[in-house]
Subunit: 409 residues, 2 copies
């Protein structure tokens, strides 16, 4: 490589998005990049000429290791969709002017669907205008909804966090179960794809009863059926645990959170507020059945709990970062690196490179046959798919009792 | 010891309450107890003659280690306050009948304020009626609100979980901060004592900005002042993080959660619902200032996240369990084991034994001088007090990607 590399992070962060950044940095340096720039806040920051020289922050091997364990986007992130080329050519000229000025040879963007759209448009524009920069995407999303890749970096660690936390929530709930009934509804991220919610199934094992019911957005949610299932379960056990996706919808397409609580909840200031689906359903169960209920949300920790990252995930995130630089340096553009599953048992994976035009804006959901017929749990095939991705730990570097992160002031 | 030992767990669980149980078991066996019984669901289960022989579950040294890492009450817990002796002597007769039948010599109860009340009443009753059983309490509560002990087992691990999670929430929030303002309100457990909320201050360090404001229940909450402080902060920075206790109250004693959202929030079924204080304040900030806000609750994970337990805490919990058996075996009754801080730096602690009559039903809150004058943060003295308690890790035993727990079916 003769020129420089620039890398950005975009969209919702994950626990391992910085491991990909570390992989990009390492491979770029190894392949002779003179400078490795980092865009602040993705393409949005770049348009304001906000970038850093990563060598100012990653000064040694220890920094690389700490960066791999740092949650959220080290460089900052954005949700910014480029306009179509014919709609606003100026914005593209501006970007390429900055890239030329920085002598950029490889442009690497770590992100999800929208970010791959950015890679697609920039590489298209380069071809249209005869620019020589190469544009390669690195997959990232806890939602695991990107097409063509077996799974996305970030998903395994989020799944590990969710399964671990659910085991702890179940122990907590069952400790209090004497002579009373308790139904706990746990809300998990994922608007359209149930990959993350399905990972709740991992909690069940030799030392844990697991959750009783799992509802994904892929199957229409039937409120009557839901209440009926809980009634049945409460005949046999005093505690019931349910995992639902934030995105579950009724047959008519209305989100459960809108259909119920949302429409009636006016806050103290007269504003309509959406209650979460879990809060709404917990209230519904209490109203219909009369038992005590509890709503649990894991909030942004699902995507930022690097203290529970999976080793498989951290390593794969690092690997795809490096593979993207290699691909761009070897002349690929308009591509995304993917993870191919080479073997299930023992689990093995390798990187591949796909045309980003086939990926951008697509959305991969959970196959219907991996969900039970009644739509209330996932199948063994689902569990076999996800279990390898949560394996192994990547212990934090603990300083004074807390995980140390790499910090960009 | 010639007879048997019985041990129970009571009140809200912690990440290390089972480490105390392990300590009781180990010392009881070491001191020659023939049997170590565990009450199911505390004194409430015992009244229904629900108990187990712990040797059936803790079969070897590995089981002891796994028990130390198992969250929530292994034996199950209850919230059950014994009536005054003169009110209902029958219930006491029933308990002692069971204890006699099981040839109990030492009765150990792991819990908080209410549980120490149980120890007090049972030991009083034994003295009144000439019974020979000894009753000793083991402190436990994430709230850290027990009198006479320097701190309570469970507090350090909860503080470590909160500080770690807050660091991750801050990284997540700051990643998105370009060209927009975001105020995050984090709600932490603690109805009357702010010990846990104050631990949010630990997040600040070389690699983290920390939270900007901390509000404890010990100081009346002034809504106008609160909004004013946020307005000031937003002039200088785009993200503001605030930790509040669930128990913050206005000057007239009304809980913030009641004063605001609570009174206006009627759910879809026409029931009044209490919104959390964080949700209410996040809505308030959005209404008054107009910026984006986010409410985060850590829910029951604060007391059950054994995957992030502090080594100091696990070891002290084990130590006080053993010390309670030793005290009872040596003839103490109506006592609670406490932790004395022998030295701050290096941190050293030892157990002591206090009269439970001086402890039961008392509540230790954060000293006013450990809170800033404006009531919006804690002082260095507070931080120096809590920091030693989060030190060291106690890594989970990971099986197939998840922490293994000891499980009582």
């Amino acid at each position: 490589m003769n020129g420089n590399v620039i890398v950005g992070q975009s969209g919702g962060p994950t626990a391992v998005i910085n491991s990909s950044l570390a992989g990009v940095f390492r491979t770029a340096i190894d392949r002779g990049a003179k400078k490795v720039y980092g865009m602040r806040y993705g393409i949005q920051g770049l348009l304001d000429e906000m970038y850093v020289d990563l060598s100012d922050y990653i000064k040694n091997e220890l920094d690389v290791e700490i960066l791999k364990r740092t949650p959220s986007a080290f460089l900052g992130t954005c949700r910014y969709k480029l306009p179509a080329i014919h709609e606003n050519q100026e914005i593209y000229d501006k970007i390429f002017e900055i890239l030329d000025k920085l002598d950029i040879e490889c442009f690497i963007y770590i992100g999800g669907n929208d970010s791959m759209d950015t890679i697609k448009k920039l590489s298209d524009y380069a071809i249209l205008t005869g620019k020589t920069q190469k544009f390669v995407g690195v997959p990232k999303t806890i939602d695991n909804d990107l097409a063509l890749t077996d799974h996305t970096p970030g998903y395994g660690s989020a799944a590990k966090y969710i399964a671990t936390s659910i085991k702890e929530v179940i122990r907590d709930g069952n400790g209090f179960s004497y002579r009373k009934q308790l139904v706990t509804v746990i809300e998990i991220m994922g608007r359209n794809a149930g990959w993350l919610t399905g990972a709740a199934a991992l909690a069940k094992g030799e030392d844990c009863e697991g959750v009783d019911l799992i509802y994904l957005p892929e199957v229409p949610f039937d409120t009557q059926d839901f209440i009926e299932e809980i009634r049945e379960l409460l005949k046999e056990k005093s505690t019931v645990f349910i995992a639902i996706s934030e995105g579950i919808r009724l047959a008519d397409g209305t989100y459960v959170s809108e259909a119920g609580g949302g429409s009636d909840y006016v806050d103290a200031f007269g504003h309509k507020q959406l209650t979460g689906s879990a809060t709404y359903l917990a209230n519904l169960i209490n109203h219909e059945i009369g038992c005590k209920t509890r709503a649990v949300e894991f909030s942004s920790l699902q995507r930022s709990a690097s203290h529970l990252a999976s080793r498989v995930d951290i390593n794969e995130a690092f690997m795809v970062g490096g593979a993207a630089v290699k691909a761009a340096d070897e002349g690929d553009s308009g591509k995304m690196v993917v993870i191919d599953r080479v073997s299930d048992d023992p689990y093995q994976s390798a990187t591949g490179v796909y045309d980003v035009h086939k990926i951008a804006n697509g959305e991969k959901t959970v196959p219907r046959e991996w969900i039970t017929e009644r739509g209330d749990y996932v199948t063994e095939d689902f569990i076999d798919y996800v279990r390898p991705l949560i394996q192994g730990d990547y212990p934090c570097v603990m300083v004074n009792g807390l995980p140390r992160h790499l910090y960009l002031k």
